[in-house]
Symmetry: C2
Subunit: 335 residues, 2 copies
């Protein structure tokens, strides 16, 4: 038995199955692909593939479908990246236009990616650990309520309403604002916990209580901006692509709603800087995603973009789309 042909057979099975959504048999295989051998030979090859756990038969007399392991081998060794169509290139390119606002860009990115792949697209907000404090603002909303705003040089803005406990004088607030601003402007967000206490200590004693509260607010804002968030689009694709072949959609929706789960998932995936990473079926750390695959890659300074879909998906095309989108995203947001 020839090793190359065995792989060729696996490829054919994967491709046919992805396309037809039905178990594929030896006969159909020789007809649709010009492998130069008979169906009997294919059958032998398939028996070997099955022994190796790369394909499986749903029941005795049906064709074979790829296993998770089979898909894994497929994406690792067999598949070649498909070039994007002109229309797709154009669509991605148009991402370059429009406002620079991070939220806007990410929003459009997920929409685009979900349309491109017909899957659920997910994007993680850019990491801001290297972000630096640019501006601090305290705004008195009500006698005892202060709005704390923290602006980073990345353009990300965090806001939070805090309860001061007692009435706050606007002058005091302005004083504290310039104190804080003077001391922490230019400081990395993740260094704030170390810097803030000393700022508080230097405040006039009568303002120290308020300063403490405000410092607390600022810190939780910086935590918050480091706390990663995700954006997604295309959940309807889950329902569409599974009319015939039910990947049970409930658990998947649950996973998608739990940002924590998705974040964990994305960050657990290796970060091969050259290409996209794929996590297939039961490889996923979350049970609800046992029938789903995630195709993701990093962009910019380490955040992830990707898609989630049924294990039975068109990996080459999907991978190409994810990679292309990530590249453009890096370019726009600046590496």
């Amino acid at each position: 038995m020839s090793e190359p042909r065995k792989l060729e057979v696996l490829r054919a099975i994967v491709e046919d199955y992805v396309h037809s959504r039905e178990p594929v048999g030896s006969k159909a295989l020789v007809e649709r692909h010009h492998l130069g051998v008979s169906s009997a030979t294919i059958r032998n090859d398939m028996a070997v593939l099955e022994e190796e756990g790369l394909i499986a038969a749903p029941h005795t007399s049906a064709g074979r479908i790829p296993t998770d392991k089979g898909y894994r081998l497929f994406v690792d060794r067999i598949s070649q990246v498909k070039p994007l169509s002109a229309a797709e290139r154009r669509a991605i390119h148009s991402l370059l236009e429009g406002p620079d606002d991070v939220d806007d860009i990410l929003e459009r990115t997920v929409r685009l990616l979900s349309q491109l792949t017909n899957q659920v697209a997910v994007v993680q907000y850019p990491h801001s650990s290297r972000a630096v404090v640019r501006h601090v603002e305290f705004v008195l909303l009500a006698p005892k309520q202060v709005l704390v705003v923290l602006i980073a040089d990345t353009g990300s803005v965090g806001q939070k309403v805090i309860d001061a406990g007692s009435d706050v004088a606007n002058e005091a607030l302005m004083l504290l604002r310039s104190r804080f601003l003077g001391s922490i402007a230019g400081t990395q967000l993740d260094l704030l916990p170390q810097v803030l206490p000393s700022v508080v200590a230097l405040c006039p004693p009568e303002l120290r209580g308020l300063a403490q509260t405000l410092a607390h607010g600022l810190q939780s804002l910086s935590d918050n901006s480091r706390e990663e968030r995700i954006l997604m689009a295309g959940t309807a694709n889950l329902a569409r692509s599974n009319v015939d072949f039910p990947l049970s959609i409930g658990p998947v929706l649950e996973a998608l709603e739990e940002q924590v789960v998705m974040l964990r998932l994305l960050s657990d995936m290796g970060d091969d800087p050259r290409g996209v990473t794929v996590s297939i079926g039961r490889e996923n750390p979350y049970d609800g995603l046992a029938e789903a695959s995630v195709v993701a890659t990093g962009y910019g300074s380490g955040a992830k973009v990707g898609i989630l879909g049924p294990t039975r998906m068109d990996y080459p095309t999907t991978m190409a789309a994810v990679r292309a989108v990530a590249r453009y995203l890096s370019r726009i947001l600046g590496g």
Copy 2:
């Protein structure tokens, strides 16, 4: 035939059907509810109800199920609000605790409401048309990039990165900041379009170009904050509640993803200040929601909260939950 009994029969049908998910027949009806008459009588009543379009039979020899019109009559005239359980009250009450931040509160609200009702919960951000400018901030991110921040007295913060075209001096920016701040602090957001031009006109000629750009940014921010957004949770409930009985979930997910559709839907619903409004099945203006119902009500100063679920839902309980949550929400966010 007695009119009250007819309604009683309809109520029984709705309740049984919601509970069992199966067409309900005359015999089962007399067994489960102590209507004082025989099944034959019920059959007569049912024939009338069917003639009036309130119930329908899926096929000749099956029980009846309520039509959209039947549900409508049910919620309008028959159903009585169910009191919430103690646990539910407690859950809602705990909403009162925790930070005052609008985003946080709304986030927790949708989660709670989706758990309470086992449906998809939706909440509209509070209207801010009456909001007033509290603060304006311009931050130089890069030589030609300015971050414009607009803070309203409601605590809502809008941000936007704008491209200045040419290099910007920080001093100029600070000057403009105090000009703008002085002129528009206290102005209602929706009056900005009228006020901003005069501010620009009063600027020193050499800064007028920049001022114009900034004014433009501010205005689009105010538009943006008036532009309404929604938050939702519990989409997984769609899948769960429909394992047996398929409301085709795809179109519904699509609708949910299109904020425009949902906003339209919510605002099209009347705003009965005393109670919740229900839109049933084909009453919905969006085709994808032909098998879905929306239960919503206003809170605070006119924004909506509600849930979306299959037409076959437990209206009394759901309505009670929505109403209760809306009340608490109003209380927290202030009327």
